[in-house]
């Protein structure tokens, strides 16, 4: 159920995100999702990629500071209220979200939510009990 997310430190300067992304592309790694969390001075690029081990190795070898974290992916129907339903379910089981981001899965007419929890195992147990549908890594990366 756990998905490996790659995070990358980047200074908030022109061109500082393009270089690592180009590097991944050249190595044939697909980026399924990308989210940039930024401050005025620096940012964190968070990515879900087709081969996280290879991506982490390539970026690390080229001197990028990389961290791999386990996140969870939830699929929701892409219609009004779909997101609110999931968030309400999370509220009810009283579990704190460190951060989250969402991206659409256009062909399937669905949206995918990525959640970072302090304790992913605990979160999996509670979400499953609450009937929330968690994606496996294979499901998330299929058709890539």
């Amino acid at each position: 159920m756990k998905i490996h997310q790659i995070s990358l430190f980047a200074e908030n300067k022109p061109g500082h995100i393009a270089a690592p992304i180009r590097l991944l592309e050249k190595e044939g790694i697909d980026i399924r999702a990308l989210y940039l969390a930024d401050t005025e001075q620096y940012g964190i690029v968070r990515m879900i990629v087709s081969d996280w081990q290879k991506a982490a190795r390539i970026l690390g070898d080229r001197g990028f500071v990389v961290k791999v974290t386990e996140v969870l992916a939830v699929e929701v129907i892409d219609h009004p209220g779909g997101l609110a339903d999931v968030l309400e379910a999370l509220d009810q089981i009283r579990i704190n979200i460190e951060y989250m981001y969402a991206f659409p899965d256009v062909r399937a007419g669905k949206a995918i939510l990525i959640f970072r929890f302090a304790d992913p195992d605990e979160a999996i147990a509670r979400l499953q009990t609450a009937g929330v549908n968690l994606l496996t890594s294979d499901e998330l990366l299929k058709d890539q």
């Binding site: 997310q5 995070s7 430190f9 980047a10 200074e11 500082h16 969390a37 930024d38 401050t39 001075q41 620096y42 964190i44 968070r46 690390g60 070898d61 001197g63 990028f64 500071v65 990389v66 961290k67 974290t69 460190e98 951060y99 970072r116």
Partner: protein, 445 residues
């Protein structure tokens, strides 16, 4: 005689090359005076600049009758080497010079230093004595990750390690992954590089899943830049090695002017070849042992390029007591700062070593850093750029901001002035010869 003095100290495990370390003091002083007179005569006869400065003072080599008389001699400073570029301070004809080295010369012309075969042999012998003092011997596998080439670090350490009878792995600088692979695969027992480069290797090894503590590595001989006691503890904790401070400068000979012994209470100066003095950096007056001031060195046996009273700009003291190890060689304190390192920012004195100690206070971090000075609307601005290491990095913005604030707080407390802290990407700060360039001053006066 020498053997007897060693026996008196009860030392039994001593490399033969270390015998001069135990010369009885009166004998050592006699040797120093005799060599001082010889080298002064040589410089006076062969080096025009030195001769003219002696003439100005109205003195001649025969006026040197005691070691105290050294204070009569003129100082030599770094700009003298630049002004006489390339060969103006040589005391040997080029046919007798077997080696030239030069500084990296980031500003203007480099400085050039020369060696006769005898000089190279002396250099080798003092580096052998450094390693022997660190407890290394034949059978050790020594990896030299100082830059090889014009920089004296690589070749100096190389000849010394070979002279010791150790197995040398001459990797030179750079290629961290390969350095770590060879350390592991060759069973390297001692490492020579700059302390900051070794920290980088520890970090990189951790990323590669290699714990330095699991390697046969047991000693590190680190130099070519000032480093602190807290950095030593940091290195020793992370890698389970014994870390030694080695001192030297190209103008005098390269690495091997002095080195710690296993007592780690200051660095023994190889006084039979290098005569140390401490002076007041402002007045130039000699200071007694135990007083802090600028280290001045005179090469007692150099042929190709004798240095008379060379002002090192390094601030230290000659430790007044005899070392427990039994060596009769005097020691200098570890060099934490250089007189030309001091920065004056908005009227406050700041040393780069203070920045280092502030960064070290933050648990688990001794990252690469650089101080950038600018002047905005007539006011000095100091920025400390800190490279984010894998250990520091976190995928949560909040955690990075917390780290940022901790660094800011520690720097404000230690320096007493407000500075700007910037987190920058790994490897974005320039390095040269594995040495970190700590200060970029863009203030125009």
């Amino acid at each position: 005689m020498k053997m007897n003095s060693i026996l008196e100290t009860g030392i039994t495990d001593c490399h033969p090359a270390s015998l001069p370390d135990y010369t009885p003091v009166p004998e050592l002083r006699d040797l120093q005076l005799q060599r001082l007179r010889t080298v002064v005569t040589r410089a006076w006869q062969q080096v025009k600049l030195f001769r003219s400065r002696m003439d100005e003072r109205g003195i001649e080599p025969k006026d040197i009758c005691s070691l105290e008389d050294i204070a009569k001699l003129p100082f030599t400073v770094k700009s003298d080497l630049r002004d006489t570029y390339p060969f103006g301070l040589f005391a040997s004809p080029m046919k007798d010079v077997v080696r030239l080295h030069a500084s990296s010369g980031t500003t203007g012309k480099p400085i050039v230093v020369a060696y006769t075969q005898e000089d190279v042999d002396v250099w080798t012998s003092v580096v052998v004595r450094c390693f022997a003092g660190c407890g290394l011997h034949r059978g050790d596998i020594v990896q030299i990750a100082y830059g090889y080439g014009l920089f004296t670090g690589g070749l100096g350490a190389h000849y010394g390690a070979e002279g010791l009878g150790a197995t040398v792995v001459p990797t030179s600088g750079g290629h961290a992954d390969r350095q770590i692979m060879l350390m592991k695969d060759f069973g390297v027992t001692a490492m020579c590089c700059t302390p900051t480069y070794f920290l980088h290797l520890i970090d990189r090894a951790a990323e590669l899943g290699v714990d330095m503590k699991d390697l046969p590595l047991r000693a590190g001989v680190f130099g070519a830049e000032p480093w602190t006691e807290s950095m030593r503890r940091h290195i020793e904790t992370l890698s389970s090695i014994e870390a030694f401070d080695i001192y030297g400068l190209s103008e005098i000979i390269g690495p091997g002017v002095g080195c710690e012994c296993r007592r780690h209470q200051g660095l023994h100066i190889f006084e039979d070849h290098f005569y140390p003095e401490i002076i007041d950096p402002d007045s130039g007056e000699p200071l007694p042992d135990g007083s802090e001031g600028e280290l001045v060195l005179t090469t007692l046996s150099k042929q190709a390029m004798p240095m008379i009273r060379y002002r090192t700009r390094d601030i230290t003291m000659i430790l007044p007591d005899r070392c427990e190890c039994g060596r009769t060689l005097r020691r200098i304190g570890r060099i934490g700062r250089r007189s030309d390192d001091m920065l004056i920012i908005r009227g406050v004195n700041v040393f780069p070593s203070q920045v280092e100690s502030a960064l070290l206070q933050i648990e688990g971090t001794l990252p690469h850093y650089q101080i950038q000075l600018t002047r905005e609307q007539g006011l000095d601005q100091m920025e400390v750029q800190v490279e984010v290491t894998p250990r520091m990095f976190n995928d949560k913005i909040g955690a990075l901001q917390e780290l940022h604030q901790k660094l800011q707080g520690a720097l404000d407390r230690v320096l007493g002035i407000r500075v700007r802290v910037s987190l920058v990407e790994a490897n974005s700060i320039e390095r040269s010869e594995g040495k970190a360039k700590r200060v970029i001053d863009r203030r125009t006066s």
